[in-house]
Every structure is written in C-alpha cells, then in structure tokens.
C-alpha cells in the first residue's frame, strides 16, 4: 500500500481501501468463528471472487482488472468514474440491461447488482463487488439479480418506472427470454424478502 488511501468502505465481510490507482479488498477475520474455519472461508471466497470477476471481464462485461490475489486480499484496478446511482438516466439503464444480460448469458449471477455497485467510466458500465457472485445459470438467480437492481432503483430514483423499462429493453436485446425473467422477478417480489 504505497499510495495514499482516499477512502475506506466496510461491509459485512470485507473492508475496501480505495487508493489513487488501485483498490484493495480485504476480507477481515471474524472472531465469532473458529480460526480454521475463518481462514478457510476467507481464502476460498477471495479466490472465487477474483475468478468470477475476471471471468466476467473475459466475456465482455467491464470489471476492474485484478492485479493480485494474496491470501485474503484482492488488489484491483481503480476504475475512475461516477457511481451509477448519481448519474443514472434511461440511456445508462438500457446499457446496464445489456451488461447484465451478457453476464447472465455467461452463467454468472452478480448477487448484488445495485446502482452503487456500478460505475460509469468513459461511457462504459463497470460492474464492481463480486463478493456475492456465483456461477449460476438458473432463472431464479437471474431473477434475483434483476430484482435487486430494481429495488435499488425504487429506493433512490424517482423516475424508476422509465428506468426499469429502459433496462428491460437493453436486457431483452440479446436475452430472448426476458419475459420469463420478468415473471420470475414478479414471483420473487411477492415473497418480499430481498431488500
């Protein structure tokens, strides 16, 4: 960590150190669980997260380049740009639809695709934080992704109806089964469990 730390963001399982040119995500130890289990989980998850993030990049989904995976830490490129939550409009929503369809078509579910986990950089949409991502082709996993995205729109953006419509137009360009995904989202919404 040779550069100055601009910001530290802490989540339920990791602390993210944002520096001038790189971002370091550190999975922090949990004192409640036995050390062997703690170390095993943090190692496996760090490896899996880095792998999914670079696999996503390989299929054409913009994600930060992984520079190093070391134990419980992932060092990656810092993508400069604006968080989608601050700049979203219908054009961006449509682009997000295309990006998420590309990710899903590669058999990857992001797990937490809120507008805070997306960055607009040079007109491209970057997906960040693959901490909850999984290799999952199921309609359920895709529906949860779309639902989580919609929830983040409803919570933050007044014109969410138009944004959802634009998103679905983008998603449906290459994902022909968009109608099935929409009905899955309705079903998931009815359960009322995702926030």
């Amino acid at each position: 960590m040779d550069q100055g730390i601009i910001e530290v963001v802490t989540g339920a399982e990791a602390a993210v150190y944002i520096q001038t040119h790189s971002v370091i995500k550190k999975r922090v130890p949990k004192k409640y669980r036995t050390a062997e289990l703690d170390i095993k989980l943090r190692k496996e998850r760090t490896k899996l997260e880095a792998k999914i993030q670079s696999d996503a990049r390989k299929v054409g989904v913009p994600t930060p380049i992984i520079r190093e995976v070391n134990g419980f830490d992932i060092t990656m490129e810092r993508v400069e740009g604006q968080p989608v939550s601050l700049v979203i409009n219908e054009t961006i929503a449509e682009q997000i639809g295309e990006v998420l369809c590309t990710l899903h078509s590669a058999g990857i579910a992001h797990g937490d695709p809120t507008t805070r986990n997306m960055i607009v950089s040079n007109t491209r949409i970057y997906l960040i934080d693959f901490g909850l991502a999984s290799y999952d082709r199921s309609l359920e996993a895709r529906g949860v992704d779309v639902h989580v995205f919609f929830q983040s729109l409803e919570a933050l953006h007044e014109n969410y109806r138009a944004l959802k419509k634009a998103f679905l137009a983008g998603y449906g360009k290459k994902c022909q089964d968009v109608e099935q995904v929409i009905s899955k989202v309705e079903e998931i919404k009815g359960r009322g469990r995702y926030l």
Binding site: K30, L37, R193
Partner: protein, 324 residues
C-alpha cells in the same frame, strides 16, 4: 383483555392465560418420545390424552367468564398435533361464546419476546427443530430475509445425535460433548446469499463417525452450522441497518450459539438479546399474547378458516399491531 392460548405444534402441549401485562397462569404437558425422535402420531395421541387436563388447570385458575378470547397455534407444525389443539380451541370458543384466533407459531415466538424486552424492531434469528429463519418486520409483515433450504437446524442436530446413539433431544447432548473438543474437522459450509443448508453437515457428521471422536464431530458440527447462521444474521443487520438482534426458538438455548451471536453483535456495535429458556421453548403464553394482540386489533378467525396449516409461513400474516 384476558386471552387463553393453546400451543401444540410439535412436542409441548401448553395452555396459558395472559392479560395485557402479564402471564397469569400456564399448564404444560410435554411429549417425551420413548425412543427415537418426535413421532407426529404419538405426539398427537399425547396431546389428545392431556389437552382436557391442561385446559382444566387453566380454567380452574380463574373465573372462565373473564376470558375474552381463545388463541391457538394454527401452524407451522405437525398436522396431527395442530388438529388436536385446533379442535380443543374451537370447542372452547364455542362453549364460552368468545372469539377464536389462529396464531402463527413463529410470530408468537417473536411477539412474546418483544413483550418481555424493550425491543421495538429487531432482526430475529428463529431456530428450532423444524425452522431456521432470519426475519424482520417491514411494511405490515414479518419478512423472511433468509432461511434453510432443506431441514431445520434442530432437526439436523437431533438426527445426527440419534445416529450417534444419543437420546432425544439430541441438541443439549451435542452441546455438552462439543465443549470437550477444540479440534475442527471441515464440514460442508453452505450459505447461498441469505439462505443456508444443513443436510450436508448431517451426512458429513455421520460419515466422520468412522474415523473421528464424537467430541470432535460435535464441536465441528456446531462450529460449522452456527457460523452459517451468524454470517447470515450479520449480513441481514448490515443490509437493513437494524441494531438489535433477537434470538428465538428452542435451539437458541445453546450457549455456544449465543456466544457467537454476541461476539458478532459486539463487533458491529449491535445489541444482542437471548431470552429466558421458558420463552425460547414452545409455550402457551406466546400464543395467548399474540392472540391478544390480534384480537385487540379486530382480527379473529372464523371457524371455517380455523383448520390446521402445517406450512403456515410468517409472512402470510398481516401484522396490524405494529404501527408504521
């Protein structure tokens, strides 16, 4: 208001009388299996033989004319057990000429603890034989944020304990044996988003019996299963910004689970509540009190809608007694 409540979803048959402020009386008759685990038909036979007795005790503790409503556990639970308490509750309501109200057993666990503590809006970890869920209140319902994808944690513990020759209930015996070990054997750790799964641990534990000591297996079993629960609770707290965690259900009596949850909460600056064993276990007071809340808000259950609901989910109930 004074309400008589009948609990009978699985092993404990319990009748209780509560007012707005306190538990006035409670009579229990627990079903204890002679061998193996809880057998639904045998439990129901035990309930049928003893339901008149426990209700009689409650009625003789008071003037029956003071009772303003009859509450009963409508589900989730074993169908044969639920039908016994349902039948008794219907007969009692008709006889006394007071309203009947069917209560969700899981919500009752939460409400009795909200009543006995100062918790307004907690995140809840509900862990019992059949159920394992993380819940919290939002917009007139208790929402299930995460839950088991297969079996309940208590059922998983009991199954393993039986295969190891420990008598029912196995949970407390596994807890005691686990205290004798600190050797961790890897077991399947399955958390998918907010959901979790236990069946893999049960299989792995049985498999390990061939080569490892029972103490080591009990220790590893608890450490793995409980870590999964604590992780999901932490994520739920982090996503909702709630600052209180409440433990409910019989498995909540486990001291190691309590300790792990307490450590997680103190590291996040959240408050942790583990209630007294009498409210962690199934009890009639929780049914009576939740029934009282429902009746006070104009809810009652017509006889035609009072059938057993073995898969009754907490988010089916509109929560009218919490404002906002």
């Amino acid at each position: 208001m004074i309400v008589l409540g009948l609990e009978g979803t699985a092993w404990n048959l319990s009748a209780s009388l509560v007012s707005d402020d306190e538990v006035l009386f409670e009579a229990n008759s627990a079903y204890i299996p002679t061998s193996g685990g809880i057998h639904p038909r045998e439990a129901a036979q035990h309930f049928a033989s003893n339901v008149i007795g426990v209700i009689g005790e409650v009625l003789s503790s008071t003037d029956p004319r003071s009772i303003e409503g009859i509450a009963f556990s409508q589900g989730p639970g074993f169908g044969p057990c639920l039908r016994i308490v349902g039948t008794a509750a219907r007969a009692l309501a008709l006889k006394l000429g007071v309203p009947l109200v069917g209560v969700n057993h899981c919500i009752a666990h939460i409400e009795v603890e909200r009543w006995k503590t100062d918790l307004l809006d907690p995140m809840v970890l509900y862990v019992s034989g059949a159920n394992s869920q993380v819940l919290s209140y939002r917009q007139k319902r208790y929402r299930i944020l995460g839950e088991t994808l297969d079996i309940g944690i208590g059922n998983c513990l009991d199954k393993f304990a039986r295969s190891a020759g420990l008598r029912h209930p196995g949970g407390p015996k596994v807890e005691r044996l686990a205290q004798e070990s600190e050797r961790y054997l890897p077991m399947p750790y399955v958390v998918k988003g907010m959901d979790f799964s236990f069946s893999g641990i049960a299989t792995a534990a049985q498999e390990a019996m061939k080569s490892a000591s029972l103490e080591d297996i009990c220790y590893s079993f608890q450490e793995t299963a409980f870590s999964m629960l604590v992780e999901v609770c932490e994520r739920a707290l982090s996503q909702t910004d709630k600052s209180d965690l409440l433990l409910a259900g019989g498995v909540g009596a486990n001291k190691r689970l309590q300790e792990m949850l307490a450590i997680m909460c103190s590291e996040r600056g959240a408050r942790f509540f583990a209630p007294k064993t009498e409210y962690l276990q199934d009890n009639g007071a929780m049914i009576a009190y939740t029934g009282l809340l429902m009746l006070s808000n104009g809810v009652h259950t017509p006889i035609t809608d009072s059938g057993a609901n073995p898969n009754f989910r907490p988010d089916e109930v509109e929560v009218l007694w919490i404002k906002g």
